[in-house]
């Protein structure tokens, strides 16, 4: 009988301890979630406050009763935000599309075709992965300047096209496709090119989508190269645009309008993320870099 009671006591104590530990865990996780979300909340909140009310709040309010869309109007009219947006869209789409055209055949050749020097070349490719961008950007800057391609989309896009890492990622995926498929296609008289287009690309679509999304994120957020290569506002991408807005736009002090611009810039990627959440997180786990 006493044994039974002791047992119950111990069990209850264990349950209590578990609840406490769980509570601590949830508080910790909740705290970090708050840290992550708060800047986003603040940016949206500030963007709907009017200029006058924002500046009159010595102690900023955590909500607003009279939200205004005026700042969003300002963001598109007072500074060429729409232009920056369009530029970034063109840059992102073009870079990603050309990259796919360049890297898919390369990955295909490494994964499927036999040729002399393949292993040496692949090792050379892999060793290029270790080269930091900071080393090559200097000469690229000079090259693009000498080619008179500054302030042009060509100059923006060209150096951003290839990525050894994505070739590697795709090659690994292509190599998983069984050889039998290739031989069967060969027997049927399918050319290599057709095999790549009609068999390999459909099978490896998940990886190709992952690579595409990662590249889109990279393009959308790129700052350093566009800053070096453009000083004409007509070619600014959003990152440079936001920097320009910060330094010169809106008379510097119009924080609500600035925040409206920040919201507009942030929304596309967040929407993309919420749609492709699983794919993006999977892709970053396999091949992310930031950090």
């Amino acid at each position: 009988m006493t044994n039974q009671k002791d047992f119950e006591k111990i069990e209850r104590a264990a349950a209590r301890r578990k609840t406490v530990i769980n509570a601590v865990i949830y508080i910790l996780l909740g705290f970090w979630a708050l840290m992550v979300l708060f800047p986003f909340y603040w940016m949206v909140l500030t963007s709907v406050k009017s200029y006058a009310s924002y500046n009159s709040e010595y102690i900023p309010k955590f909500f607003t009763l009279s939200p205004t869309m005026q700042n969003y109007v300002d963001a598109f009219t007072a500074v060429p935000l729409g232009q920056y947006f369009l530029n970034t869209l063109v840059f992102t789409v073009a870079t990603t599309a050309i990259m796919l055209i360049v890297i898919i055949p390369a990955a295909f050749a490494f994964a499927r075709l036999q040729f002399r020097g393949k292993n040496v070349l692949f090792t050379l490719f892999l060793s290029l992965m270790m080269i930091p961008n900071e080393l090559v950007v200097i000469t690229n800057f000079v090259t693009i300047t000498n080619l008179d391609l500054r302030n042009s989309f060509t100059g923006l896009i060209l150096p951003s096209i290839t990525s050894v890492f994505y070739i590697y990622l795709l090659k690994e995926n292509f190599a998983q496709i069984p050889d039998e498929l290739y031989y069967a296609a060969k027997v049927d008289g399918t050319s290599d090119f057709k095999y790549m287009l009609k068999v390999m690309i459909p099978i490896c679509r998940p990886t190709i989508i992952t690579v595409t999304i990662l590249k889109v994120i990279e393009c959308w957020n790129s700052y350093v190269w566009p800053r070096l290569i453009t000083d004409n506002e007509a070619y600014y991408l959003v990152s440079n645009g936001i920097q320009e807005i910060r330094e010169n736009g809106f008379g510097r002090e119009n924080i609500p309008a600035m925040m409206a611009a920040v919201v507009v810039i942030s929304v596309p990627l967040i929407v993309l993320f919420l749609i492709f959440r699983k794919k993006i997180m999977e892709g970053v786990a396999r091949g992310g870099t930031k950090g």
């Binding site: 865990i25 996780l29 940016m43 360049v102 993006i280 997180m281």
Partner: protein, 296 residues
Amino acid sequence: MDNRNSKAWLYLLPAILFLGVFMVYPLVDVFIYSFEEGYNSASQTFFGYGIYNYSYVLHDPYFLQAVKNTLILVAITVPLSTGIALLISVGLSSIKKLRELFQTVYFLPYVTNTLAVGLVFMILFKKTAYSDGLVNLLLNLFGGSSVDFIDGPYWAKMFVLCFYTIWVVMPFKILILTSALASVKQDYYNAAKVDGTSRLRIFTRITLPMISPSLFYLVITGFIGAFKAYSDAVALFGVNLNAAGMNTIVGYVYDMLYGDSGGFPSYASAAAIILFAIVLTITCINLLISKKHVHY
């Protein structure tokens, strides 16, 4: 055979061309640049070869300041971010409810534009004439006095930079660590439970060794990433980082290349190569240490 050879090279040609022009050639060229003395970018002439560029860069107070800033940033953010990420990931893997939601939220900073969100941080921390900013009000609440985190004392600025850097790198680390934790076999934990092992012991003897490869991967990439810090600083302090005293090594390279103080690709090259040497050394040390401690 020859026909097949040439066909394969045809598939590779675009990639080789782009890599050759924009990666291999620049790689060689940057070393040449760094040894060309007195290079004039307008006339594209130089006096001769030597190590003057390196000595100039190493004696430039701005560069030394940038090195100091970068080293402090690395020393603070790498251990802190990895530690917090580990804590959060362990927490995440021990709950079931709300887990997906938390994971999604934690990942958000990864998909945001560093420059754009940096502005939000600037506003939160900045002290202006009409408001002390939210963070300062919090400080006041706890009895502290207001500090200008953006234009104020060095350590205040460094704090914001470290804080923002950690905020930015966290998603990647949490993601890698949660997937590492999820891949530890449940059998080990069950066996430990049967033996009545304490939580702490389970963590240090089973969990840590099992995820050590990912942990070291994060430390290595964390070091490399932190050494290349730049856009976070620009987002917080503006383009003129030298004036703010918050420049980083990469920032120094770009400033030398372009902008108001630009036009010196030789100095930029020398600084970039010094950075590369530092990163390479640190990475080698990390790899050596990881060989000793990582359990594969």
